[in-house]
Symmetry: D2
């Protein structure tokens, strides 16, 4: 017998769709799980929009006030898919209401907010997780397994970037429902919180904590028309950000993100170089992991392109057969599955709020370093 | 208001899962469609297995006799996902019962069976389609659009292969539920009907009919233990097949398929060379289409790797954002969507049975040529 | 003390340059060799052209009649770089004159000519080699070593193609010094002798003799203006050729060549699939060998891209350091080095005329099969 | 009639070979040049070694004291291929002796030395160039042409790295003839002067001057046995170096180099992102330039892989035919050709000493920033 997990979704944008798809598919592909998500309610201020979303995706009811949603007894868990500046208040209230929380990344606008959120969920003892979904791309999960096995030996280098090109046009506005990521008040930061946060989360997971950073940011287009006011307004976010760092394990890190790298749609790449082996991965061909293993016979050493689609690869036994790729959205199905599993086992579903706070600390240090042009230590 | 399309699924194997996933997801991502699949019944001889399948995927009821399924008034369409040797009888009966039919490929065991099936559906006037799903990988659909635009000019060459490596071990048995594809009685042929049929369907769609062929086949492992009898039995299928051909448009074709190409899991590649431009595609990185355009500036000509994930690429506006890949299973969602659309428009959903018969004709000619070592003309 | 090898070069075209470069560089990079080529004489009918060539490349003298060259006592070896229809007469005369012979490929216009040439060099006992230079691209030589080690196990498949696109324009003339490869009288065949012959030579070297073939050829442009006469003339060569074959070892072969594959400049690729491992190579990135090894750990199996530039890779210890690529021309330097070495050891420098005759036999069978549409056995 | 350029080579290591090969081949492939290098003398302290080198490569004479070489009237130009700490004294003396100078990179141990060298050659009015050879890889030269055409528009990003893995073993010694690059006294710095200097030279050439930097360096192995003394000694060089920078044109730069990136032999990659187009290049496949052009038709936009081997590509008309790759060493032949051409035209052969000083300034600022953890402006 399966047990329901009654869900309240707050928000209905891109991430609202991606998460909902995860909830709807998990039972088909992970039938052994005891819990099954039930789409109880979707919530947003705009009644028409949220009703349309609920109809399309099959939510049983709607709410237009998240406080009303939190007050409902039939909701076990809430999924926070709203702009970053709203995470803190909703999350803390949800924790106080005893709801489990699945919060979109980045955790918060800054470390102070994030710390308050962590304390709230920990005090309330509610299960919590943050949607750093790329950990659960099978090729990335496989990288984690390989690294944890010790195969790489001492780590010398870690580098990652997340390159996009969709904001190059000066005519693109900022703000509003579709473009809040370009508005500092709603997003907190630009590429740092939106893209680099992903890189940092994976980096910490794979390579441990970051010790210190030196960073630079740039805003290439200084003013954009605001979507809602129709007025030219100063752009407050970082269009690009790069930083150097040391990890606690002594390895060197190099990170970069931008929305001005012509030709790259969503090029999240990472590479880690160890004494004995190296790994690299690229979101554009997400089912491939590349590996160089110095233990291979000398004459035939080379970078291997591992097509991570076999039944014994992480998560892949749930899907099709070797050679048949899965896509971006599956990472969310996997996180839902792991979240449901955590309800069975009582183990945390990483990254928790506390894990995500580590990423927030690096983001804050990066932005501070970019502002004052000095190295900043973490935590 | 949406209208239901009440479905009866016959079979529950790999393809049963893939098609069912298509039915379940289409409404979420193609909300504008008038028809919505309803999973009315799943059917197979083994009650326990089919009940388990129905429970996992949400079919409302089960049947253990496909004739009983066809007799049900609440079934609008049947999906035939059983071994090839059963297609004909079920399809003809379903047509006679006035059911729409979605039939797994290849259409039939041979042209004679296929012709009978075509006549049945055409006489009954029931909507029909065959699951040559690769037409609806967005990159392949884009190739079709480019070719149809005339961009390539006169076509000189078409080549395709489908290479796998999963039957190299002599210890692999044949037959039974899992391995009927290795048994001639159930499958009709080996790689020719299983893999090359895909290549041929796409080829005809992109480049027109085939005129004549010369072929060779090989069975590398001569005997395998039968899964059910436990006895060593002669292997009756082709392990590998290759053929040369002329297309009606005067271009030359080269096709190959095998399950003995060590290192290739499901490497379906195709390439077409025209006077002005060329295209190529590879199932292992299915969201990429490569294009060489001679009209480009000479100094900077090269093969372009098109990451077919933009909103204006075929089907992609329904999914995520540029750069985020979809996978294998989405091709089935697309075919379901197009099938449902065809119910609105009254237009056929290609490939129809009649379209699939063209592929069957080439397969038959290929096998005949391999047997008698002469060139064979098609139909 | 080094000994001179006095060379007479007959011809001054593309291959004349490539071979001469090989002679001039070999001493710098293979200083341990006892013999050193000396550029004694260059020979061609057109005095002005050959003088210019001799001046540029440093030949000590010129001849305008190859018979005069063969009569010279100070010539030890002749290099035949003239159109295919002249190979036989010159080679036989050279053998009779006791000269060593380095002959450009293909060996001859057909098997009968080739057989006569073999008998001549064998009767005269003169050292001989044919310039199938691709054997000596380090990545290809490494493939040979790996195959010979038994690493691949039983071989199932071999495929190769050589795709170009330079004759697509109807305005391209045929014949004359620059375009004799397009004229049947001078070249014997089109892509079969020019390009497929390379593929066949490597295939036989790597995978053994070919047993039988079925082939098709095509001439897409039926008439071209002759460079010398200025008149439209029927095109007698094959623009494209493809064939299927069985090798003596039971593996299946697939070969294709064309000058009408838009986008491919000189795409010679080969792949061999064995029971335990597979290899592939591509002339466009000639310093890379790709290998899939099933013996690798399951979770991290994949195609390895071996950058064949290490000091212990074939020939590479003579050049630079790991990671630094060499190019096309180096294959000729290597063949010169191996030829000079053969003078020290008395061992043949493969491919000899007799080796090259095996390739000629396959070419002849391919053309015969294309003409009469039946399978042809080899010799 | 050609004129001789009488050369004196100082040094005989890896670069001595690479440059000498350039001198020897230039006449064969650039026959139109008026000047021809003549290998007059090779010079090094060790008589036996330099004699062997001279014999192998064909130098007419040897010297064991560079001052004696500079005193010779029959020497027009000297090529400085000795460790970095000797560049300054020899170059200044050579300038004073009125010799043209071709100096291996980096120019000097630091800016002060470099400035003195610039003043010396400028005062003496002698032709000078520095061997930043990668500018003359055809694909890189093509990148320069495309950028200079304005095709990219405003530049947002430039990134480059040079990754190697050959010093990971603790057992590798430092110092001596073979390993002076690992000894601070001889090399001045580690990867910064050896590898990053290449990246910086190309970057300045393609994207203009650097304004400021923040950097970090690391020495992973703290002690190594000295090759000559046999004693463990502190390692004084940087094993790895990374820096962020701003260019004068407002674009952001990211650079990294290391000898601890397992799996990378000599991975020099660069990428530049402009408003309208982007380019990238990789030394491991040096004949390819990748380009993304936003002006391409939207549906078929993608990264193009340009195989830079056509007759109208930079330098390539001198070599073979389209599709046939050249290698690393050719970049030196090209620089020799351009140097000889500069003697005809009187134009400088870039990079001159003065150009190379710009790179030195960035290197010095990078090392200073790494030492004091602050941003440094460039000169």
């Amino acid at each position: 017998m399966t047990k329901p997990l009654n869900l309240g979704m707050i928000g209905y944008g891109f991430m609202g769709r991606a998460h909902t798809n995860g909830y709807k598919r998990v039972g088909d592909f992970f039938p052994e799980l005891q819990y099954r998500p039930v789409l109880k309610a979707a919530c947003a201020r705009n009644r028409e929009n949220i009703q349309k979303f609920a109809d399309q995706w099959g939510y049983e009811s709607i709410e237009t006030d998240w406080k009303a949603l939190l007050a409902r007894k039939d909701i076990d868990a809430v999924d926070i898919c709203v702009p970053n500046n709203l995470h803190k208040e909703i999350a803390i209230s949800a924790a106080e209401a005893g709801k489990m929380i699945l919060c979109e990344k980045p955790l918060a606008m800054n470390v102070a907010e994030g710390e308050a959120m962590c304390q709230a969920v920990e005090k309330a003892g509610v299960t919590n997780t943050v949607w750093y979904n790329y950990r659960r791309i099978p090729a990335v999960t496989l990288a984690k397994q390989i690294i944890d096995s010790g195969k790489l030996g001492r780590i010398f280098h870690y580098r990652a970037n997340f390159l996009q090109d969709w904001t190059i046009s000066e005519d693109l506005p900022q703000g509003g429902a579709a473009l809040w990521r370009l508005e500092a008040d709603a997003a907190g930061s630009g590429v740092t919180g939106d893209l680099l946060a992903h890189c940092i989360d994976t980096a910490i997971w794979l390579n441990g904590q970051v010790r210190d950073v030196t960073a630079m940011t740039e805003t290439f287009i200084k003013e954009r028309t605001h979507q809602l006011t129709g007025k030219k307004q100063k752009v407050g976010i970082d269009d690009a950000c790069a930083f150097l760092c040391h990890f606690e394990n002594g390895s060197l890190g190099l990170f970069e993100s931008t929305r001005y790298a012509r030709g790259h749609k969503a090029l999240y790449t990472l590479e880690i170089n160890g004494e004995h082996a190296s790994l690299r991965w690229d979101l554009h061909d997400l089912h491939r992991l590349e590996m160089f293993d110095h233990a291979d016979t000398g004459l035939t050493r080379g970078w291997k392109s591992i097509h991570v689609t076999d039944g014994d690869h992480p998560y892949m036994g749930k899907w099709w057969v070797p050679g048949l790729a899965i896509g971006y959205e599956h990472s969310f199905v996997h996180q839902v599955a792991d979240f449901l599993k955590s309800l069975e086992t009582g183990e945390p579903c990483h990254p928790t709020f506390r894990d995500a706070l580590d990423t927030q600390k690096v983001c804050d240090a990066v932005l501070a370093s970019a502002a004052d042009h000095t190295w900043h230590s973490i935590g």
